[in-house]
């Protein structure tokens, strides 16, 4: 395969050939154009926080060893990292805030959004300590929205309510002792922007503690809040069959891709695409084919079964098929280059969010109140554009893989309850204890042009399931694994170790699937990493141990975004051994690097970062960790 250094996805590789023939520039071309990348940036020792700079530190021990203000390498690295994590946390908190607004609308009745999952609403309300007896779901939804808002209006020093209500008590105590419990998400983000400006905090250790705090903001005011509220509004996912890869696009359909992260609009696009299918048929299309990229894709996959077109790094390639009539984007991970590719075809890029516009794209502004009208307009725009498609330029790769997704914690528990209705977690825990399941690993995060697309995700996971490690996954990692056919019962037969295979077969059979569960459970979007946190909490509670004692790990094999830094920090704070497959920009600060990856993090939090760029070696490192945790538990 000509592009084997670029991607292991055959559909992406064939599209890269098309792009090369048609002189369509892609992220991979631009990655090569960026080589060599700046060593100071790679090491995190360039400071641009004031205009006396930029300053950079000589990483080889020679001068300059300090910036103009006197900041040394560790201080610069710690400040840069904290700003990155703050950026990541800001995305998820902003996302969650919009979900609260939608819930508030739903509570008011007569709104475009409704409470679709009353059970989840009750569960969340109870968790928050809200009295549920005798209240209508509208009243409860209003109170839950109010409780969420109250964290953003918390002017006291009390920790965030959503955190104390959802995080393990042992962790809340640990974080309290370290002084890293966040009060008000907006305030914490504001405070670290202040803390990291010129001439404020000079202590790398203090900055790392704030980084942990921002990781918690991300975890609870971002991930957890967003998942909880989206489940209430759109429903908690259950197992769903779908497909992944560019082969899901159809020549004879209106093809609409939803790309970005927030389901508030994309859920409505799904609704309107179904309603307006006759309109598409009138213009000669056989129907409307929706497909997703990145996490907005995962959201509508989990709840609506919408297939996945592709993942982050190959987003431009979807447009190069010439078959996409509209790509609707919301926020995050949307490459500015999309419009340039769309310009080569009839494809319309439709931006929808006030903070995410692209010159040359059509902007159809999303508002919660008018979401139905906007979604209808967007789908109609896509349908109208179908007739402009030049069929002679359409090339859709055939590759696609079937998959099972939709494994919320509720869905996992329901499947397990088929084995033991009174104690659903017991079969899982028993099989971990007897070693049939060696441990569990969450693979999450993005693609990164520095890594052959999907290769680290797929290699790492195959190495782990062979050793009877159960995988849960989210984000673009889940999409990589879906494309590679790992989200299927057949993957259990083909790749899982014998004992893992036996357990998954038993659960599958009991759940009436007539096939094993897949060895990789798709738990949702990046904000749905909160589901993984909930699963860990449930397991730890059941075993009466702390999360940090469980034989588990997390891995972001190909991460690129600031969001991944924030999620990773939350995972480490939760006590999870967290593998990074791309070197983070911290190695220029030896003290910071050693705290994050060494004994200090482990002693204080129970988790730490583990950096290894070679996936087979990373799998070995993760297995060593899992086995050591098993040994400590005496299992």
């Amino acid at each position: 395969m000509k592009f084997r250094d670029y991607t292991i996805d055959p559909a992406a590789a064939s599209m890269l050939g098309r792009c090369s023939d048609q002189s369509i520039e892609t992220a991979w071309d631009r990655f090569h154009g960026q080589q060599p990348q700046c060593g100071f940036g790679l090491l995190g020792i360039c400071c641009r926080n004031c205009v006396q700079g930029p300053c950079r530190i000589n990483p080889f021990g020679e001068e300059p060893s300090k910036g103009i203000c006197g900041a040394g390498a560790d201080l610069i690295v710690a400040r840069n990292l904290l700003r990155g994590v703050a950026g990541g946390a800001a995305t998820h908190v902003d996302h969650a805030y919009e979900a609260i607004e939608a819930l508030e609308l739903a509570a008011s009745g007569n709104a475009p959004y409704q409470v679709r999952d009353e059970a989840k609403l009750l569960a969340v309300a109870k968790k928050l300590g809200i009295e549920v007896e005798g209240k209508t779901s509208a009243e409860l939804a209003g109170e839950v929205a109010g409780a969420a808002y109250s964290d953003f209006a918390n002017h006291s020093t009390k920790p965030m309510r959503w955190l104390t209500a959802t995080a393990p008590a042992e962790r809340v105590a640990t974080w309290g002792k370290l002084g890293v419990l966040p009060r008000n998400p907006d305030r914490e983000i504001r405070e670290v922007l202040h803390q990291t400006t010129m001439g404020v905090d000079s202590d790398p250790v203090n900055l790392i503690l704030s980084t942990v705090k921002l990781g918690l903001v991300d975890g609870y005011a971002g991930l957890h809040l967003a998942t909880d509220i989206q489940d209430i509004i759109f429903g908690t996912p259950g197992p769903v069959f779908s497909e992944a890869n560019l082969g899901v696009l159809k020549e004879d359909h209106v093809n609409v891709i939803v790309h970005g992260h927030v389901p508030l609009l994309s859920e409505k696009i799904v609704e309107w695409a179904r309603k307006l299918t006759p309109e598409a048929e009138k213009l000669g299309a056989k129907g409307i084919q929706l497909a997703g990229i990145c996490c907005t894709g995962n959201e509508v996959l989990m709840r609506q079964g919408v297939p996945i077109a592709t993942n982050f790094l190959s987003q431009e390639l979807a447009l190069a098929t010439g078959a996409v009539d509209a790509m609707v984007v919301d926020v995050q991970c949307i490459m500015p280059a999309l419009q340039t590719v769309a310009d080569c075809f009839h494809t319309k890029i439709i931006t929808t969010m006030p903070i995410a516009k692209i010159p040359g794209a059509q902007h159809i502004g999303f508002t919660l109140e008018e979401v139905d009208a906007r979604a209808e307009e967007i789908v109609r725009t896509a349908i109208a554009n179908f007739v402009k498609r030049d069929m002679s330029r359409v090339y859709i790769p055939r590759e696609k893989s079937a998959m099972v997704a939709g494994f919320s914690v509720e869905a996992v528990v329901k499947a397990l309850a088929c084995l033991d209705a009174d104690n659903p977690l017991k079969p899982l825990v028993d099989n971990i204890a007897n070693g049939n399941i060696l441990g569990a690993v969450a693979t999450v995060g993005c693609n990164n042009a520095k890594v052959t697309q999907d290769s680290a995700h797929v290699t790492l996971v195959k190495e782990l399931i062979k050793e009877n490690v159960l995988i849960v996954t989210t984000g673009c990692s889940a999409q990589a694994l879906a494309k590679a056919g790992l989200l299927l019962p057949e993957a259990t037969e083909k790749y899982a170790g014998e004992t893992l295979k036996a357990v998954l077969t038993a659960v599958g059979k009991a759940a009436g699937l007539n096939a094993p569960l897949p060895p990789v459970l798709h738990m949702g979007s990046c904000v749905d990493n909160s589901r993984i946190g909930d699963l860990l909490k449930a397991l730890a509670d059941y075993l009466k141990v702390a999360v940090k004692d469980l034989p588990v790990a997390a891995s972001a094999p190909e991460y690129q975004h600031e969001k991944a830094l924030a999620i990773g920090t939350w995972a480490v704070a939760l006590g999870v051994f967290t593998h990074l497959g791309v070197v983070p920009p911290v190695l220029g600060g030896p003290q910071v690097a050693s705290i994050l990856t060494g004994q200090v993090a482990e002693d204080l939090l129970g988790g730490k970062f583990y950096v290894e760029t070679e996936p087979v070696k990373a799998a070995q490192g993760i297995l060593v960790h899992i086995r050591s945790k098993r040994q400590k538990l005496g299992i």
């Binding site: 060593g39 100071f40 080889f60 190695l587």
Partner: protein
Amino acid sequence: MKQVLVDIKICLGCRSCELACAVEHSHTKNLFEAVQENPRPRNRVFVESAGGKSFPIQCRHCDDSPCTRACMSGAISKDSSTGVVGHNPEKCVGCWMCVIVCPFGAITTDGEKHLAVKCDRCPDRDKPACVTACPTKALVYQEVDRFAKGVRQQYLTSFSKEGGVTREIS
């Protein structure tokens, strides 16, 4: 014979050449590992600035090189086939005469063993590491005459743009 030459106008002073040089002269030849080596690897190119200009300075591998003449132990010598002014640490006594006579300040100490350190033009590479690392391509590895032709073309282009050629003819 190719030389490392510099387009002074486009050097941004980013020091990427310095980092790449140190990495190339490390044991691991990998940035992330090189910064953790002890002793730390040394760069042999130095970005200096004056008068608003930045310039990466390294051994010019002079044909008539003062350092080879000043070296009393025979540690520094010019290889006539490659044109590289090489330094043999086995013979170096650390007298620093080479440092005194080099008009560019391109020779420094190794910081550890009291030996001179200088550009070896990356014998393991086709193109020196500093040249590969330069993001603006201010550093080039070229035949001197080809570089000179480029400079002439640039001169003429800007000369004609400013109307100089037209005036001359009329």
